[in-house]
Subunit: 407 residues, 2 copies
C-alpha cells in the first residue's frame, strides 16, 4: 500500500470533532477504497496548533472553521501551496468563491465542498458530476433546516414564531443567534453556490435576493391549511427570460408538490432539466456527524483523484422582475362592496384570483386569496393601492405560492 | 484541446437513439467540462455495423443492447481490449457482475452503469462515491416505474390490475410483455446491483427473493386507505442478524413514510446509515432521454478519469427468515367466535395484532388486520392454520407493511 495520506484539520468545533472521530473509525474503509490510509496530521483551534506547521505536515487540508476570516486566507494559502482543500464553509464560498476556484485551478488542485450545501445530501456532486454537462433549468429547494423545523412546528401546533424559535434553540436546531438562518442569509449563501454550479455562472451572495420567515403569523398557516398549502422557506435558482434569477423567500406549496412533505430539520433539493425531467434529493440538513460524513466523502474523492475546480463558462444577467403567484391576507371592514373594490384593483393590475376564503370577525372580515402568477412589480403596485383603501384594517400580508400542482 | 474521444455505441433502440442525439447536442458542454470533444465512432444494430470494427475505432464503448447475450461477450471483449465501458444493462450486471468487474479491474479500466438502476437518479454514484466509505445499513426503495404506475392507478381509480396494466401498456409505461416488471424480476436485478455496491458483497440476481404485484386486488387497496396505507413494490437490501437480506415484495407504507408520496412512473431510493441518518432520492424511473442522460454522465466521468471498478470486500451470509409486519385480508363466516379463533392462532404463533377493521357482507364478514413485526416463518405457519379453519370463505391474502411511522 502507498504512503498514508496526512489530513490537516482547521477547526475543533462540533463538526471538527465529529470528523476526527469518523476519520479514525473509517480509516480502513478509506484505505480499502483508495489505496491510501488517512492519518490526522494535526488540528488547528483558536488555542492550539499553528497553521503553517499543520499545512507543511499535511497532504490535504480540511477547513471547518466557518466564517470568512481567517478561513479565506488559510484556504488560499493551502491552495497556493498545491494542497487540495475540503471545506464545509458556505459563506466563504458564496462570498469569495471566484477567488478560491481560480486559485485551485491555477495550482491544479481540487477544492471540494459537498458539506457546505444541504448537509448530507450529495447535491454538489450530483450537479457537478452526474449533471455536469446537462442544461439545467432550475435548482430549488429547502436548504435551511432551522427554518424548516420552525415552519413545520408552527403549522403543526399553531404556536407563534417566537415561541417555536425558542423551542428550536432548546433542541439545538437553532443557534443562540439565529439571525442568519431565519432572515434567509444562510439559504442565500447556499443558493449562490448551487447557482454557480448549475449554471456555470459567477453568482455570489450579493446577487441573491432573500427574505426570511420572521414575519410569518400563525394565522397565515391556519388559513393556508384550508387551501391545502404548506409553507417552506424556498431557495430558487433558475433561468428566466434569458437571464438568471436567484432568490430565497417563504413560499406556499400545494399538497401534491414533492417538497410539501419535507418536514422538520430536513433539507430537500430539486433539479429540473429537459434531459432528466426532475430529480429530488432529501435528507437531514445538518448535524455534526452528517456534515463530517459529507466532508469525508470529499476527502475520499480527492484521494481517488477526481473533480478539478470547475471554471465559470457563462455570463447570465440577473433578472430583477419575475412572475410569482401569491397568497394574500387582508383584514377589512365587513361592508358590501369591499371584495369588489379589491378585485377591481387586482384586475386593473392584470392579476387574476385563483381562490378566496372570506370569514367574518365581528364587524370586520378576513379575506385570504391566492392569485395566479403575475409580475412581482405589478403585484406590489396592487398591494400599495389596496393598502391605501379605507376599508383596510391592517397592512396587507402576502407570501409567494408555487402554483404547479403535481399528480 | 486534446484529441476527440471516440464513442462506440452498441444498440440502436430508444435509448441508443436518444443517446446519439444527446451526445451531439451536448458535445460542446462535454468538451468544456473535460477538455475532450466526444464523437460518435459508430453504432451497432442487429442489421448494421460490425462489433470488431466499432471496437477498434472507439475509445469508449457504450452498451445499450440489453439482455445478457451477446452483451456479455461484447462488454468483456471491450474491457479485455482496455476500453472503458458504460452500460445501462441491469440484467447483465446482476447476473454477470463479478466477471465483468474482475475484467475491468484486471484491465485497469472503468465500467460504469448509472443508467442501469433507478433511471436518472444518481444512486450508483452516490453509493459508490459520496457514501463509498460509509457503513450503510440499508438501501431500499421503489426501483420499478411500471409497477409503481400500476399501483398508483389502482389506488386512485379502484380499477383491477389487468385493466390498469392495459392502460400502462397504452401509455408506454409497460412493455408488450410486462412479465419481468410485474413479477419483480426487474426490481430484483436492480437490488442485486445496489446491494453489491452498498455492502461490497458479491450479490447476484440469484440471491434476491422476489414477489410481484400480479395478485394485488382492488379491495386490498380500498381497505388499506382506511388504515392510511399506500402500496408500493419495494426493493430492500439490508444488514440483518450479521448477514444480508435482499428482497423485492409489494408492501404497505404509512402515510408519513418518505416513499408514500412517490406516485406514478417514478423511482425513489433511500439510503440509511448512522453517519448520514437517511437520504432519499427520487425522479423519473425511465424514459429514453433520461436514461441517455445518465449514460452521458457516465461517459463524462470516464473522460474526467475517475472511479475504478469496485472490488468486493465482504462476504455476508444471506439471511433467509426475516421479521416483517403484515396486512392480512380474511373473508370469514360472520359468526360469533370467529375473530377469537383467528386471534388465538395468531397468539399461539407469537404474532400480535396492531389494528383490525371488520365489516359484514351478508352472512359473511371481511377482516382486515395489520399485525406487528414477526418472523416470516411464524407468520406463514399461522396463515396455513388460519387457511384451514372452517369459517374461512376464501384463501387468506397478505401483504407486507413497513411499520415505522415517520414524523
Amino acid at each position: 500500500m502507498a504512503d498514508p495520506i496526512r489530513i490537516g484539520v482547521l477547526g475543533r468545533g462540533t463538526v471538527g470533532g465529529a470528523f476526527a472521530r469518523l476519520l479514525e473509525e473509517r480509516a480502513d474503509a478509506v484505505a480499502a477504497a483508495t489505496g491510501r490510509r488517512p492519518e490526522l496530521a494535526g488540528v488547528l483551534s483558536r488555542s492550539e496548533g499553528e497553521f503553517a506547521e499543520i499545512l507543511a505536515g499535511s497532504d490535504v487540508i480540511v477547513e471547518l472553521i466557518g466564517g470568512t476570516d481567517p478561513a479565506r486566507e488559510y484556504v488560499l494559502t493551502a491552495l497556493h501551496a498545491g494542497k487540495p482543500v475540503v471545506t464545509a464553509n458556505k459563506q466563504l464560498l458564496a462570498q469569495h468563491g471566484e477567488e478560491l476556484f481560480a486559485a485551485a485551478r491555477e495550482a491544479g488542485v481540487a477544492l471540494r465542498f459537498e458539506a457546505a450545501v444541504a448537509g448530507v445530501i450529495p447535491i454538489v456532486r450530483t450537479i457537478q458530476e452526474s449533471f455536469g454537462v446537462t442544461e439545467i433549468d432550475k435548482v430549488f429547494g429547502i436548504v435551511n433546516g432551522t427554518t424548516n423545523f420552525i415552519l413545520s412546528e408552527m403549522a403543526a401546533t399553531g404556536a407563534a414564531y417566537e415561541e417555536v424559535l425558542a423551542r428550536a434553540q432548546q433542541l439545538g436546531y437553532a443557534e443562540a443567534d439565529p439571525t442568519e438562518d431565519v432572515n434567509g442569509a444562510d439559504a442565500a449563501a447556499k443558493m449562490a453556490i448551487l447557482a454557480r454550479l448549475a449554471f456555470h455562472a459567477p453568482v455570489t451572495l450579493a446577487d441573491v435576493a432573500f427574505e426570511g420567515i420572521e414575519g410569518i403569523q400563525p394565522d397565515d398557516l391556519a388559513y393556508a391549511k384550508e387551501l391545502d398549502l404548506s409553507l417552506k422557506l424556498l431557495g430558487v435558482a433558475e433561468r428566466r427570460d434569458g437571464g438568471l434569477s436567484v432568490r430565497v423567500f417563504p413560499c406556499f406549496l400545494y399538497g401534491g408538490h414533492p417538497l410539501a412533505p419535507v418536514e422538520g430539520p430536513f433539507n430537500a433539493v430539486m433539479v429540473e432539466a429537459p434531459a432528466i425531467t426532475e430529480v429530488t434529493m432529501s435528507g437531514p440538513g445538518a448535524g455534526g456527524v452528517e456534515t463530517a460524513s459529507a466532508v469525508l466523502g470529499d476527502v475520499v474523492s480527492i484521494l481517488s483523484g477526481d473533480a478539478p475546480a470547475a471554471e465559470v463558462r457563462e455570463e447570465l444577467p440577473l433578472v430583477a422582475d419575475v412572475a410569482s403567484s401569491f397568497y394574500l391576507h387582508l383584514e377589512v371592514a365587513d361592508r358590501p362592496g369591499v371584495l369588489a373594490r379589491i378585485a377591481q384593483v387586482l384586475g386593473e393590475n392584470e392579476i387574476s384570483v385563483k381562490s378566496v376564503v372570506q370569514r367574518g370577525i365581528g364587524e370586520d372580515a378576513r379575506l385570504v386569496m391566492v392569485v395566479h402568477e403575475c409580475l412581482e412589480s405589478r403585484f406590489h403596485a396592487a398591494i400599495e393601492e389596496i393598502g391605501g383603501l379605507d376599508e383596510l384594517r391592517s397592512q396587507p400580508r402576502f407570501i409567494r405560492v408555487i402554483e404547479e400542482e403535481f399528480v
